[in-house]
Amino acid sequence: MFLLDHLWIILALPLAGAAINGLFGKRWPKSAVNSVAVGAVSLAFLAVAELVREFVRLRPDQIPYFKNYFPWMTAGPLHVDFALQVDQLSIVMLLTVSFVGMLIHIYSTGYMAHEGGYYRFFSYLNLFMFFMLTLVLAANVVVMFVGWEGVGLCSYLLIGFWFLKQSAINAGKKAFIVTRIGDFGFTVGILLLFWTFRSVDFGTIFAKAATWPAESMTQVGTLTIICLLLFTGAIGKSAQLPLYVWLPDAMEGPTPVSALIHAATMVTAGVYMVARMNPLFSRAPIAMLAVAIVGALTAFYSATIGLVQTDIKKVLAYSTVSQLGYMFLACGVGAYAAGVFHLMTHAFFKGLLFLAAGSVIHAMGGEQDMLKMGGLRKKIPVTYWTMFIATLAIAGIPGFAGFFSKDEILNAAGSGPHANVWLWGLGLVAAGLTSFYMFRLIFLTFFGQPRFDEHKVHVHESPRNMTVPLIILAILSTAGGWFAAPHLMRGTDCFESFLHPVFATYAPEHPVGQEESLSGAAASELEPGPGMELLHAVTGPPVIVGILGLLLAWWFYIKRPEVPKRLAQSLRGPYTLLLNKYYVDEIYLALIVRPLLWISTNVLWHVMDERVIDGTVNGAAMVAREAGGQVRELQSGNARSYATWVVFGAVGFTVLMLALWMVR
């Protein structure tokens, strides 16, 4: 059990890559930097593969496999060790993160080939992998937080990679500060967690929480507060309402960064955290409802914004926010496995979408505005076909990965134990909108006549180190969902059953049915034959809205391209509202940023810093100087003064002596 006992290797590899590239890479040729960076993350992936091989041979009672490396902090009752653990959830996340990460590293060698600061990019990227893997492998909430903060740092560094560009710097700052707000809630949550359970280890906490009764919908207990606080961290990190504003701006970073960090991995950390904490969430129904509501609302809201955006990356950004909403919706209705499933498939198709968009941008020589594209289908076929496949996946077209995961989520929202028709409705509408705007993206970019000057822009397909990852991800976007397929044929959902122990070990006793796999809920209905279930799934509402979206987009952008413009004219108000993202950034600026700046300048700076602190320090100096000035005048040179002082001293001394003599 080599790798299981030496989990740290998985972490050390990218860290070493980051260090080597960061310290020495500046003068190395690109090939050397590549070898180190791509090699590090590839070796990490191979390590993960080997880990999986060892993991499947473990007995159930050995899971989660726990490894304590060294005691990190000890302060009174607080014991935090640097400990790592592996269970089924970790395996899923590890595989996703390391594989997609490896593909994106390879892609970046092509995309960033002409950029300055090459070594720095890969150093940061490797560092990000290190932190993300730490987050996934953590066995206690503090080590997880280390990873949490670390990925935030790398996100900031990478968004602002082109640090000479003012908008990039601002975006990086915005990302960091907005997520910080969420992280504050997360930190308070950790504190409350420790205070309640006297431990930060997942195992200990979950075991203790298992003995607690579930809290009811009317009572806000400690568990609810903890879960809500932790969830605010997830709101920030995973860009949900209201802290999503940083993600669209984060598109200032290079496209591989958007793919890796802001689609596949970092933003999913919030979902992972909620899934990991499922024993706590399952016992706090109010928190679960909050998660579900936030997820559903965000999914819908963000989809509406994506309808009218013209920057290709911004559309994908809002799409990411929306899909993350789906994942939280899943967790909020208790379908944790579905949420994680969608996380994995989303990593595939969203990562692919971003990488393909990068390929398009690369082909267009840097252009990102879809209105200036068009007709690229024949010119960059690989990019087109892979992106098309990813769009089919995200729209939930049957057969592709997104269909299975989205279907499961909406099923759980519609008819699971925590079902809620409003949430289901929001999710359904959002699915339709998603399909629409994604196909709109495809049609605007690849179909129609070129809306650019073909003499100025030489459209060319990307090199192989960029297209091969695209192809691999396309395969995964198709086949990645087939784990769940047997379920539709009355078999077992392999993914679901694999993850089952993670979500069932500490599940609370529920008076209203058990929250197990969705197959249980579906089976309690009529007893259709195997084929009927498949047909039922394939013709269900999610698929219908998906196809509707496709058709509508086709109508709008291929058949009758003048319709969008006319619609925008006639619905001027809503259109402008959507185009300006509901003016949320402006609202935040006015309500929060400006007052804070005013307070900082006028109160904290002028009053506190200048008057109080400087005043005290300068005042102390002034007091010393004045006192010195006064004392200086004692030295008058006048002998009579001196004589008087001598007499004064003599008087004092004799009084003192006599007093002492008296006391004795």
Binding site: R640, S641, A643, T644, W645, V647, V651, L658
Partner: protein
């Protein structure tokens, strides 16, 4: 009221009165002469205390040599009435009260202190407690030999110093 008491109070009164005169006098020469008077009365008090040798030394050295030196210097420098400047503010306001306080305080405690049994007999005590010059000189040249020799060097230095300081530049 026996003789020693009368003598004591008489000479004490003279001493205090002369000291007062020293403070009050306008001319320094008057102060000098009152100081001489103080010393003479103190010499008498020493006699009352049975320290004949010391009384003699007081008259000869202190009153006879040192005060004469003072008077010579006053006359040499033609020291007249001193001008009434009062530039030191602390001396003006706090000096005299402080000094008077010191006086009273010391006097108060001295009155309480001291061995009550040590009664000075003055003239006519028994010879067992004789303060003979011989005994004094034995003490001086045996126990306090080193300070004695040191003071002789001190006097030498003083003479040299005075010479150097007061020499007129030729």
């Amino acid at each position: 009221m026996s003789l020693p008491f009368i003598l004591f109070f008489a000479f004490a009164a003279i001493a205090v009165a002369s000291a007062l005169l020293l403070i009050v006098a306008r001319e320094p020469i008057h102060s000098a002469l009152s100081l001489v008077l103080v010393m003479i009365s103190l010499a008498a008090l020493y006699l009352l205390l049975g320290a004949e040798f010391i009384a003699a030394v007081q008259i000869i050295v202190y009153a006879g040599a040192i005060m004469v030196l003072f008077v010579f210097v006053i006359m040499l420098l033609n020291a007249g009435t001193e001008e009434r400047t009062n530039w030191s503010s602390i001396a003006k306001y706090a000096g005299v009260p402080l000094a008077i306080f010191l006086l009273l305080e010391l006097a108060h405690w001295m009155a309480r202190a001291g061995p009550g049994v040590g009664i000075a007999n003055g003239v006519g005590r028994d010879s067992n407690t004789a303060v003979s010059t011989r005994a004094l000189s034995e003490l001086l040249f045996e126990k306090y030999l080193f300070p004695f020799e040191a003071t002789s060097i001190l006097i030498l230095i003083a003479v040299l110093g005075a010479l150097v300081l007061a020499k007129r530049d030729e």
